[in-house]
Symmetry: C2
Subunit: 170 residues, 2 copies
Amino acid sequence: MSWDDVSDTECPIARACSVVGDRWTLLILRELIMGTRRFDDLQAQTGMSSHLLSTRLKRLEKDGVVERRLYSERPPRYEYRRTDKGKELDPVILLLRQWGMKYGGFGAKDEPAAHMIHKKTGKVIDADWRMPSTGKKFTFDDTRSTISKRWTKEREARRTAFRAAKGLSE
Amino acid sequence: MSWDDVSDTECPIARACSVVGDRWTLLILRELIMGTRRFDDLQAQTGMSSHLLSTRLKRLEKDGVVERRLYSERPPRYEYRRTDKGKELDPVILLLRQWGMKYGGFGAKDEPAAHMIHKKTGKVIDADWRMPSTGKKFTFDDTRSTISKRWTKEREARRTAFRAAKGLSE
């Protein structure tokens, strides 16, 4: 019996894990949530190899979690977005964010990487914030965020390093 | 810049993923939630190699998500359990379960792998159940489950195949 094809199992957790139980996949989803749309930018911010990113994006597209849209015909260029099915993973990502805020080795006074507000209530979504148990399910569309200076700097450094490695100028 | 050590990043999602963003790790947690305690049983039910399982368990122990207890001195034998910090990942696993129930390719009339009841309210925890937004955070300690016949059979088959591969009799 092999677990390579976990759709062979009765367990829904195992089946979900076969789609998203992977650090890289979750980081791709994080970037898509942040509005990153293009392959190169996804690669710069996740640190994935081009081959690995391409494989994961194809898998996510096949699984209906991500959709690809042509935004330029010559040369052909694509944008990537979460589908509605993909957005239904937002609560998972939110809980991982909260667990990471609590246990990720941050100092109590550290500014969070993203200052996130729940639009409807105006509340800050920190490690203790609880998703409403009624109404529609949480998605990051319900939030607005400001990225901290430190994380902005980190992201710029990733972008610069990636472009330098590819031999592109800024 | 390398992402091998994601504790180098400001992003709490990336930090959380470095601990649990992995199909195998999530499956280990699922088994621990189900009450599986011993190395061989974890191996049989996750389908992991002994080396991979050992590596992941050590990492989880180091990260404070799992604890190991000696239950037999001669030969030394260990039991594995989630720590309180590990139980704080239960909401993540629950949401993965619900997403998997909805999108994992099950038929509408399929019996769920686990019939799960929220003890306090008596409600069935299905794909639509919502975690309470007040009170203490959800853990699987708040539930009781009955495993379906089909999943029981699958699990017995895994156990049998594993023992056969190890040359053990039933």
